[in-house]
């Protein structure tokens, strides 16, 4: 048998060849020193990768999990800005809106106070919406306007020259901003 090419030896390591081909190569490598060495070298990279432990793994695992819970809770914040298709009778729509606003209001109050978040109230508002099912009503877009308090204004000194490194979205914003200033 002719020496298999090196990418085939690599595929052999991954068990990605037909059963016959796998057997042929197993036999070939017993007698061919060159292929044996190549195979060992390729295998060594796998061993190196799997021996190398990722440092402080458990700490990352815990931190990411906490991050997910936190981001999800904050995601509930974005919930107010979203358009929501709500299945419910028209009569109930008004009361639901009231609940949304009441819940949202208490939530914003809670956010602005020293107590950063008040998940119980948020949950309350969520539940009252999820509890309603039947015909369909769209909550109007003015829900979006309830977020003024969350707006962030960044002032940039006029004479400064900036070098922007980062997302094109930021660069675009900056260009638009410059046009407005001029």
């Amino acid at each position: 048998m002719m020496c298999p090419n090196e990418s085939t030896l690599s595929a052999y390591l991954d068990g990605e060849l037909s059963t016959e081909r796998m057997q042929e190569i197993t036999e070939h490598v017993k007698d061919c020193r060159k292929c044996k060495v190549t195979l060992e070298q390729l295998d060594q990279t796998r061993i190196s990768l799997h021996e190398a432990d990722i440092p402080a793994f458990e700490a990352h695992k815990r931190r990411v999990y906490e991050g997910i819970l936190y981001a999800h809770r904050r995601g509930a914040d974005g919930f107010w800005a979203r358009r929501i298709g709500l299945p419910m009778p028209v009569v109930l729509a008004a009361s639901a809106l009231f609940l949304v606003f009441a819940g949202g209001f208490i939530y914003f109050l809670g956010q602005n106070s020293a107590l950063q978040r008040q998940p119980t109230q948020l949950l309350y508002a969520n539940e009252s919406i999820q509890g309603l099912h039947s015909s369909s009503v769209m909550i109007p877009e003015f829900l979006d306007q309830g977020r003024e308090s969350n707006e962030v204004i960044i002032e940039i000194p006029g004479e400064q020259e900036f070098m922007i490194i980062g997302e094109p979205a930021l660069i675009r914003e900056n260009e638009q901003w410059n046009q407005v200033v001029r």
């Binding site: 990279t45 990768l49 991050g67």
Partner: protein
């Protein structure tokens, strides 16, 4: 929810697959902070979308798909930042990686990772998916939209390059 199976709980998915997802994100990006961000975004997406998948294998495939896209976005962003940086300094592209280092917030202390960072992205990502994703060539090909034989070649060339870099590191 279908009748044939119960969806696996998020806790089970997280406990079982965090290692895989974090390893892939870290090995491809070479940066702990970025790997944390990418893992978080992938699992958060899973949590919020709650795809109705019958087993952990499919959950893994689902998560890896999201993760490799985020890794790719990160790679593009890094390349953009590097270009912006070089343009700002009016310096020509240099063959070594000194520009790159400025954006590596946490330099890896691991020899293997340092070598892996030097392997070109299109080889590194395929090799990492092979070594850490428990996927076969066909699945990797499907994920990346390339042929199985292309996967085979990239895995090989990735290994070859990594072996060369590790050998150089020893000297």
């Amino acid at each position: 929810m279908s009748i044939e199976h119960e969806a696996i709980s998020f806790t089970t998915v997280y406990q079982t697959l965090f290692h895989t997802i974090f390893s892939i994100a870290y090995r491809i990006t070479g940066n702990m902070t970025v790997a944390e961000e990418i893992s978080q975004e992938s699992f958060l997406k899973y949590y919020e979308k709650a795809p109705d998948l019958p087993d952990l294998d499919q959950a893994r495939y689902w998560l890896i798909r999201v993760t490799k896209n985020l890794c790719y976005n990160n790679e593009k962003r890094k390349a953009r930042e590097k270009r912006a940086y070089q343009r700002a300094l009016r310096e020509p592209e240099r063959p070594n990686h000194s520009g790159e280092d400025l954006f590596l917030h946490e330099e890896s202390k691991e020899e293997v990772q340092r070598a892996l960072n030097e392997v070109p992205y299109n080889l590194r990502s395929v090799l990492v998916l092979k070594e850490y994703g428990q996927l076969n060539y066909r699945q990797i090909g499907n994920l990346l939209g390339i042929s199985e034989s292309n996967v085979k070649v990239r895995v090989y060339r990735g290994r070859e390059k990594l072996a060369e870099l590790l050998k150089r590191g020893e000297q």
